[in-house]
């Protein structure tokens, strides 16, 4: 699949269902009531996969929505991060919640453990700004 998706492919669920799989690899077309009743579908199946988010990002880009596309790509990275960790990172990004070192550690972990360089960059950037605006946690906390 080398061609880039564009507005003609939207909505993927209608125009390109062939491209859609759940995070467990089930094709979207297999997500049916019969499969649900048979117990073949779990809640895990009803999530978006990183590949799908990348495709949606291509569509956003194609219609001139750069920031939305970037968000889709950050989101693709975060699909691998567990719920609790996502919430913990969010809380760490609140004003005066984290030291510079803690933010750096989060960025490193995003990069090395979760292969999430874009999210890591966002966290690193926040550390710069927080330092300049006195929004890091006071020393020793």
């Amino acid at each position: 699949m080398t061609t880039t998706l564009g507005p003609a492919d939207y909505p993927l669920s209608v125009r390109r269902p062939d491209l859609l799989r759940t995070p467990t690899g089930t094709p979207l077309s297999d997500v049916t009531m019969a499969a649900v009743v048979a117990g073949d579908i779990t809640n895990e199946d009803l999530r978006v996969s990183p590949e799908t988010l990348q495709m949606q990002g291509e569509i956003s880009d194609a219609v001139g929505r750069r920031q939305l596309a970037e968000n889709m790509r950050r989101a693709a990275e975060l699909t691998a991060v567990p719920d609790e960790e996502v919430l913990a990172i969010y809380n760490a990004l609140r004003p005066r919640a984290s030291s510079r070192q803690r933010l750096t550690e989060i960025a490193e972990r995003l990069e090395s453990v979760h292969a999430a360089p874009l999210c890591a960059a966002l966290v690193r950037e926040s550390a710069e700004v927080y330092e300049a605006r006195d929004l890091l946690a006071p020393e020793g906390e």
Binding site: L46, S126, R133
Partner: protein, 572 residues
């Protein structure tokens, strides 16, 4: 409608006329009005204290923004400069005279895309400079072209003063049937959330498959309910226009941007919320006008990559509503949201005035040109049951709204529905919820409650529930990890296959991610309609969204219309 009449000072003052007495007693005089105080930001959109537009780019980086050098940027400036403004067009776009951009906005021969190519590079002060040139009719004309989705839609609140999940379900079903594309709820007692969110979802799918739902809560629980598939989207992620107010709210543009990615990573549609007046209300407007600060919010949302924004003053509407030109500024903030290519859920969602005339006039700038969501939302319960502290419109206004749509031939997203159809979906929603509660071992919903839900108006019409038992049940829903998929299975098993199928279709959207695109909603065939496949293509008279055909025929119906064929009968 209110507690106190204004003191007229009539007791000892000079004699007044009967006319003055009559006017004094008009509801509009129960509203509060204040003088402007621009030094403190108590001014709608025209202030000498707002900065003049300027921009300077060096090596692809914005080094000056609206008169402020990069070294002096606060975090809003930094975020907007680094994320929101498209640097490649910035200097060129800002060099275009404001009146020229304003004229492009109202000129039907200039396409939406052409305008967007400029607006994506504009600074906050430049955007303000442009909309300041426009009167309210020009703002509406621009809105008609610039809003992202072609077909307008509407959103409702479905809440209960007693957090009664059966009421929420029945009113959600009725709201969905009447045409709302999105339904939102919140709680008095937060621990009720799981049951009320389940009621909202099941009610919505019983009313019209594909309506999406949300439950306004603190971030962690809201995200949790979304991840379980009990709710379908999120909206109450507040952002503010000054650094100090943002920090007071315990957030920053970076924390909110991260949250936006978090929602998208779970396939959940999300928009931010902001609005004029919030900063001055908290005393930290930094001497800027309300609209200037709101434009910073809109740019921040854009920079975060969130697909849309709820704005239109929202819970601070009393502030712009009290200053000169305030409602024009509210319309302008919706327009700027459109100009930045974001989905706009356009307010009209908070108790605004004692005067019916003012309530209507406040609504016109969004209702006439259309918006992605004209209200965010319309109270689909009596305002006494509205846990968002009341809306500009509530169930009492249903017939008025439908009549205005018919009078002016505009589509406000609703329609008249015959009573027996409404009773049928209310009953079915309540029965479905009854079955789900029974299967989940939640406190029983009695047949009396189902009966009450079918015919009720407000929470007072329902039997009281055992609140403690319900709260225990709500906790067990969270503890047991009940998901939307579990609810689908139960609905299927208990004979509500159609609702189950509708619900499953909504859950499937999370796999496709289609609802993450700008202005996406689901139509009755579960086809996502976004500002891509249903992009606004307005190009002057005869183009864009037109109320015609079947939809127009539908909106011609009202509760009482005399039959032309037999004037002794009514059609409805």
């Amino acid at each position: 409608m209110t507690s106190t009449l204004p003191s007229s000072g009539a007791a000892a003052g000079p004699r007044t006329s009967k006319r003055t007495e009559m006017l004094e007693s008009r509801p509009v005089n129960l509203d509060g009005f204040v003088e402007e105080w621009p030094e403190k930001g108590l001014v709608a959109m025209e202030s000498d204290f707002d900065p003049a537009p300027s921009i300077r780019v060096e090596n692809g980086v914005i080094v000056e923004l609206d008169g402020r050098p990069r070294a002096e940027f606060d975090f809003m400036d930094t975020f907007i400069a680094d994320h929101a403004i498209d640097v490649d067009v910035a200097e060129r776009a800002n060099a275009v005279p404001s009146d020229e951009i304003a004229r492009m906005l109202v000129n039907p021969t200039v396409g939406r895309g052409e305008v967007l190519d400029l607006t994506r590079g504009l600074t906050p002060a430049k955007l303000l400079d442009v909309v300041k040139l426009m009167n309210v009719v020009e703002i509406m004309m621009a809105m008609q072209k610039m809003r992202a989705r072609r077909m307008p839609a509407n959103q409702a609140h479905s809440t209960s003063a007693r957090d009664n999940p059966i009421q929420v379900a029945a009113d959600a079903a009725e709201g969905a049937l009447r045409g709302f594309a999105e339904l939102e709820t919140t709680l008095g007692v937060l621990r009720y959330a799981p049951l009320v969110a389940i009621g909202l979802q099941i009610g919505a799918q019983a009313g019209r498959g594909g309506v999406i739902t949300q439950c306004a809560l603190e971030e962690a629980t809201e995200l949790d309910l979304g991840m379980r598939g009990i709710t379908g989207y999120a909206e109450t992620i507040s952002v503010y226009g000054t650094e100090s107010v943002f920090v007071d709210g315990d957030d920053t543009p970076w924390s909110k941007a991260f949250l936006a990615s978090a929602y998208a990573s779970r396939g959940i549609k999300m928009r931010f919320t902001s609005g004029t007046g919030s900063e001055v209300q908290m005393g930290n407007a930094e001497g800027r006008s309300m609209l200037y600060l709101e434009i910073r919010c809109i740019l921040m949302a854009k920079g975060a990559g969130v697909q849309g924004l709820q704005n239109g003053s929202i819970s601070c509407i009393g502030v712009p509503g009290a200053v000169p030109g305030g409602i024009r500024a509210v319309a302008a903030e919706n327009l700027v949201c459109n100009m930045l290519d974001l989905e706009c859920a356009a307010g009209n969602d908070q108790s605004f005035s004692h005067s019916a005339m003012r309530r209507t006039s406040r609504l016109m700038p969004q209702m006439l040109p259309g918006q992605d969501l004209v209200c965010s939302g319309f109270s689909a319960v009596p305002n006494s049951d509205n846990m968002f502290a009341g809306s500009n419109l509530d169930v009492e206004d249903y017939d008025d709204w439908n009549t205005v749509q018919r009078d002016l031939q505009v589509d406000g997203g609703l329609r008249h529905v015959r009573s027996e159809e409404i009773l049928a979906v209310r009953n079915r929603a309540a029965r479905a919820l009854q079955a789900v509660f029974a299967e989940l071992d939640l406190p029983r919903i009695t047949d009396d409650e189902v009966e009450a839900a079918t015919y009720a108006d407000s929470s007072a019409d329902y039997p009281l529930r055992e609140v403690l038992e319900d709260l225990k049940g709500a906790q067990s829903v969270m503890d047991r990890g009940v998901t939307g998929l579990d609810l689908v299975k139960i609905l299927e098993r208990t004979g509500f296959s159609d609702i189950a199928e509708n619900y499953l279709q909504v859950l499937r959207q999370r796999v496709s991610g289609d609802l993450l695109q700008t202005s996406a909603i689901l139509d009755a065939d579960f086809v996502p309609q976004a500002a891509i496949n249903d992009a606004n293509d307005y190009a002057g008279p005869g183009t864009g969204y037109r109320l015609t055909g079947e939809r127009w025929a539908e909106l011609k119906r009202l509760r009482h219309v005399t039959s032309a064929e037999n004037p002794e009968e009514e059609v409805s």
